[in-house]
């Protein structure tokens, strides 16, 4: 079970690596190998997460950062074009700004 492991502020690189680890855990290592995950990866298009995977990913963020970071709340306030344009780097920035 993931726990809140840190209250220390992470830099954007550390957050990126952490999110990459979460994504790997959610969609499975062998599918990650075919992807080139970067800050520019489109969350919906490149990572091809379905809604169940997005929920699992959100749970991991919540378990790690706790209530400080309301990822699902942030997502649910987006309009359709923002969702299409959503990149991993934007999630990193969001988390960084909430710390």
């Amino acid at each position: 079970m993931d726990t809140i492991v840190t209250a220390v502020k992470l830099n954007s690189n550390e957050i990126f690596n952490l999110l990459k680890q979460f994504i790997t855990e959610v969609i499975g290592e062998e599918f990650i190998e075919e992807m080139d995950i970067s800050m520019e990866s489109s969350f919906n298009k490149d990572l091809e997460m379905d809604s169940i995977e997005i929920v699992a990913f959100s749970e991991k963020i919540k378990a790690h950062f706790g209530e400080r970071i309301n990822f699902t709340g942030w997502l649910s306030n987006m309009d359709i074009d923002q969702l299409i344009e959503l990149k991993l780097g934007m999630i990193v920035k969001f988390i960084e700004s909430c710390q």
Binding site: I27, G28, E30, F31, S42, N44, K45, E48, D50, S51, I52, S76, N77, M78, D79, I80, Q82, L83, I84
Partner: protein, 400 residues
Amino acid sequence: MSKFLFVVPPFFGHISPTLSVGASLIERGHEVKWLGIIPLAADHIPPGGEYIFPEQDLAPYGEKLQQLLRRQDDGPNCSAPEIMKIAFEETYVPMARIMMKGLTKAVDTWQPDVIINDCVTFAGALCAHLKGIPCVTTTPVPPDVMGNTAESAPKIFAWHEKLFRGLQEEFGLYSDQLLIHSREMNIVFTSKEFAGVTDHLPHMKFVGPVKGRPNQAAFDWERLEKAVHPVVFVSLGTLLVDIRKDFFGKLIDAFADAPLTIVAATDPAIFESWPDNFIVSSFVPQAALMPKMDAVICHGGFNTVNDTFMNGLPMLIIPITYDHFHTAKLIENAGCGIKIRYKRLRIAEMRKAVFELLENNVYREASVRIRATFIAAGGNDRAVELLEEFSCKPTAVNQN
């Protein structure tokens, strides 16, 4: 006796249940016609019915319509929010514009007593509203695919409202309410229990699967008799074309030398040859075939889902795009199948899942429980009863 006009989209999965209900209405002595925007082979139409294809009025939209139809094939490569845009902005709304002129003429000429619009064929409900004709909507897929967006995604909800209201206003309908569906009766071809719906508006009528549409497809029954059992039926429906080769290639990798027979509904020409244990044809008499099957593999097309559980069979559902994921979740919740997402499909896992479905009885038992809810929902008889009641009752007719 009444005159019923079904207004259907260019997607056979949506047309199919209306053909079954229409056949039952004709048997009861009603007059039934369909109106759609692509030609439909005459042998699909129940005897006594008529399919209206307003070719002349569609002519100016020829290219736009072809573009719209081709766009459906992009689904497998699109993300969930992109799919929403394809569905609503690039398909349903333009389809209503394309359809309206020919539909209006046909309605003026034939004067139906009831217009029955498919849930994605908004023109039917809008035209009914403009003409003051009572309207029923049919929904072949589980409703609530989007969930409660007003709460969970307010901006998505607002986008929908704006899109649909804009369409209504183009046709001079100014209303606080959405008029793209009937607000008086919506017939849904599944059971409440399977759809996971506990709380719904009273005009939503869950009648379960319907049957009886004409299907003249030939089939090599003799070969099936002699085939190795168990037999697994595989269908990708009628819509997804581009990914067929990839999908069936994976299926061959998984089952070419397995101790079972695959009956696949797809064009055999996609491969030069097929393994000996594969029986492949473009069109199959699916309703007649299903009772002879032991399990089903499909993407989540709703008619195949209904046929599968009406026969108490377990399903491997491989959701690809559109509302398949929602259907897959319902199947997992009901326990009558296993889900593997197409994008995450491994050959070994697919093979393991199919043998699990064949050998472990829990999936079949869950499927039999779903069948009971389907039968209790009433099927054709209930749909006809609802439509007859609706056509007889004096309605507070909508005036624009």
